[in-house]
Structure formats: structure tokens, C-alpha cells
């Protein structure tokens, strides 16, 4: 040992305020948490927040909500894996993705009202950039299915101009980037059975029961 006494690293780490005041998992973690919240607001003001996101606890699980400056771009169920969904957004929309609840406040309020049975129609700007072609046509028709009612995959196929494309309608529903708000849960099989759902069949059942009760 060249140095008598404690190891130099311990000296610095132990004595500097940033290592002494906050003894939590990460030094300076409280301060950094506050700085991160501030950064999201600064980024938004500077026009650098291409995608803002937050999560929302609901009766059908914790939903991921993401919005561009144009509108709501993605709602995701836990089974879709929120981390993977955010990665896809980074690749397909923009990597400037930050947790910034403020932009999603109106979305959170309307969803809360919906799950409380106090809202039947969503009044939110939507950014449909993650959907193209026939799938986008299908989603446009889903928005026309009224609260508390259902339509069959076959009927939506007819409405979308491709009567033989019921299976493609099913795919469009399964890949709906905005479930709940674009009500793919209101599309069921012609024989009356529920069919599949992006958030799981339980969630679909739950949404339809909620709407039937209101």
C-alpha cells in the first residue's frame, strides 16, 4: 500500500455531500428524481418531447398511455409488455420518449370517467400514425360502434368494403394501438361469442359488462 489510512476512493465517496446526505440506493437519487420531473416539463416547453407517456391504474389493469403533440398515439395493456411497447414507439415514432404525465392528463380524466360509468364517448385528439391501410379503415369503422352495443367481425368487414375480410378485421382489432378508446372490444363473433381481445378475454368481458350496466 502506498497510502496509509483509508483507500482514496472511500475518502472521496464517504466525504462528498452527494454521497453522505442521501444514503438511499443511488446517491443524489431524490435530487435526480426531482430534476427528471423538471426535465420533462423543460423538454415539452422546448418542443423536444415527441412522445409523452404515463401509466394509469384501471379495472382492466395498468394501462400505458402515450401521446405525441398531435394526440393519443398508443394505449397498451400489461400483457403487451409496456417496455416493449415503448421501445417500438422509440423506433417507429421517435426516440424522444419521456415519462411526462401532464400531456396525458385529459386522457387519464376521460378514462377514469369511462371506467366509472360516467362517460360514453371519448373526446380526445388521436394520432393514428401507427396504423395504415385497411387496418386504419377498420379502426375508423370501430369508432362508429355505439357504447353498450356490439358488432360482428363480418359486419365490420362489410362496412369496411371488404365483405370477405372478417379475418383481417380480427387482425386489425388484435393490433389496435388504441384499445378502449377505439372500441375493438365491441367487435364479437357472429355466433355471439366474445372472440379474442388484445388485453385478454377477461378484459373484454369486463368492458362489455361495464357498458351494459351503465
Amino acid at each position: 500500500m502506498t497510502y496509509p489510512g483509508p483507500d482514496p476512493g472511500t475518502l472521496i465517496r464517504g466525504r462528498l455531500p452527494s454521497h453522505r446526505v442521501e444514503s438511499a440506493d443511488e446517491p443524489g437519487s431524490d435530487r435526480v428524481r426531482e430534476l427528471r420531473r423538471r426535465l420533462a416539463r423543460q423538454a415539452d416547453r422546448a418542443g423536444l418531447l415527441d412522445v409523452a407517456y404515463r401509466t394509469l391504474d384501471t379495472p382492466v389493469g395498468k394501462l400505458l398511455l402515450a401521446a405525441t403533440t398531435r394526440g393519443l398515439v398508443r394505449i397498451a395493456y400489461p400483457v403487451e409488455d409496456h417496455d416493449r411497447v415503448l421501445q417500438t414507439i422509440a423506433e417507429r415514432v421517435s426516440p424522444r420518449v419521456m415519462r411526462a404525465p401532464a400531456r396525458l392528463d385529459p386522457v387519464a380524466w376521460e378514462l377514469d370517467e369511462y371506467f366509472a360509468g360516467r362517460r360514453q364517448v371519448f373526446d380526445l385528439p388521436l394520432d393514428m400514425q401507427l396504423v395504415h391501410g385497411f387496418r386504419r379503415t377498420v379502426l375508423a369503422h370501430l369508432i362508429g360502434i355505439r357504447y353498450g352495443t356490439t358488432a360482428s367481425y363480418a359486419a365490420i368487414a362489410v362496412a369496411s368494403g371488404h365483405p370477405r375480410a372478417a379475418r383481417a378485421v380480427g387482425t386489425a382489432c388484435a393490433r389496435n394501438p388504441l384499445p378502449v378508446v377505439v372500441p375493438c372490444h365491441r367487435v364479437v363473433k357472429s355466433n355471439g361469442s366474445l372472440g379474442q381481445y388484445v388485453g385478454g378475454v377477461d378484459a373484454k368481458q369486463r368492458l362489455l359488462s361495464l357498458e351494459a350496466a351503465a
Binding site: 497510502y3 489510512g5 482514496p8 476512493g9 475518502l11 472521496i12 465517496r13 466525504r15 462528498l16 455531500p17 452527494s18 453522505r20 446526505v21 443511488e26 446517491p27 443524489g28 437519487s29 435530487r31 435526480v32 430534476l35 427528471r36 423538471r38 426535465l39 423543460q42 423538454a43 422546448a46 423536444l48 412522445v51 407517456y53 415503448l86 421501445q87 414507439i89 422509440a90 423506433e91 421517435s94 426516440p95 424522444r96 420518449v97 419521456m98 415519462r99
Partner: protein
């Protein structure tokens, strides 16, 4: 590997960059330098080559922001003696007297030693990366950090002996 959501970058490197900001810009400017660093990083992020060393990239930006701030401060002299010490939520302040001394000792180190000490002991960077950041060899980075720590140790031992001779402080 494609770029991750920027939030992951802040999550992963935010604390380390803050420690570096604190070491190279000082406690009063650390928060602002941190914010400027991450805003600049966010602005440039979409053009960052995937697979880049994100931590080294952030620390380079932080270093530049700290220098900008230092130069701006030189151009605008502040009457330091007149301004009262600002304490945020009572964290800093009188109780931190001993740490302020260490802090001042770090600030008084020659720039290369100060940076090397900060990168090594606050950011936990390997000497190879420290050398790249500072534009010097790995061996030179190692020497600068060792010299810096030796200088700090000398300052500290002198201060401790002095306070022992004076007796206990209130």
C-alpha cells in the same frame, strides 16, 4: 441495437451525470448543468449512432456545459461576498461545514486532477474512458487521479490536525 426511449437513458445515467456535474460545476450550478446537459442530449438524441457509449457521450456534454457556465460566470462577475448562501430545504448549510471544506479542496485541484478525481470516484469510470474523455492517455488519467487524491489527503490531514490542536468545534 436501436436507440432506446430517452427516458431509459435518463433513468440509467441520470445519477452518475449528476455526480459529475456536481464535481465539475460545483454544488450551486450542478442542477442547472444537469438540466442543460440532458436537454442538449435530448435534442441531439435521434442522430446518435446506435451502439454509441451513451454515458461517455453524456459526460462529454456535461463537461462542455460546465465550461460554458464557468466562462459565462467569468464574464459576469457576481458579488459573492454580498449574496447570502442559498440553502435548499435546509439540506446544505452550516451543518455541512466539513464537507464544504472537502468540496472546496476538490475545486482547488488543478483542472486535470479535478476532472480525473470526479470521473474516477464520482462517475466510477474506468481509466481508459477517463483518458478518452480528457484527451490524455490511460496512464496519465491514472496519475492525475492519484495526484488529486494525494493532494486532497494532504489538505485533509492538515485540516484535521489543525482542528485537533484547536480542540473540538461547537
Amino acid at each position: 441495437m436501436p436507440l432506446q426511449p430517452f427516458e431509459r437513458v435518463v433513468e440509467k445515467h441520470g445519477a452518475i451525470v449528476w455526480r459529475v456535474c456536481r464535481a465539475i460545476a460545483g454544488p450551486n450550478d450542478a442542477d442547472d448543468v444537469w438540466s442543460e446537459t440532458f436537454l442538449a442530449a435530448l435534442r441531439a438524441y435521434p442522430t446518435l449512432r446506435p451502439g454509441s457509449d451513451v454515458r461517455a457521450w453524456l459526460i462529454t456534454i456535461a463537461q462542455r456545459k460546465a465550461i460554458d457556465r464557468y466562462r459565462a460566470a467569468l464574464r459576469t462577475p457576481v458579488p459573492v461576498a454580498v449574496l447570502p448562501e442559498v440553502t435548499e430545504s435546509g439540506q446544505a448549510g452550516a451543518a455541512d461545514g466539513h464537507d464544504d471544506e472537502l468540496w472546496e479542496a476538490v475545486r482547488r485541484l488543478p483542472p486535470k486532477q479535478r476532472s480525473a478525481v470526479a470521473y474516477r470516484y464520482l462517475a466510477d469510470l474506468p481509466y481508459r474512458e477517463i483518458g478518452e474523455l480528457m484527451g490524455i492517455s490511460e496512464a496519465a488519467a491514472r496519475r492525475n487521479a492519484a495526484d488529486g487524491v494525494a493532494a486532497l489527503r494532504a489538505t485533509y490531514q492538515a485540516a484535521d490536525e489543525a482542528s485537533c490542536q484547536q480542540g473540538s468545534s461547537p
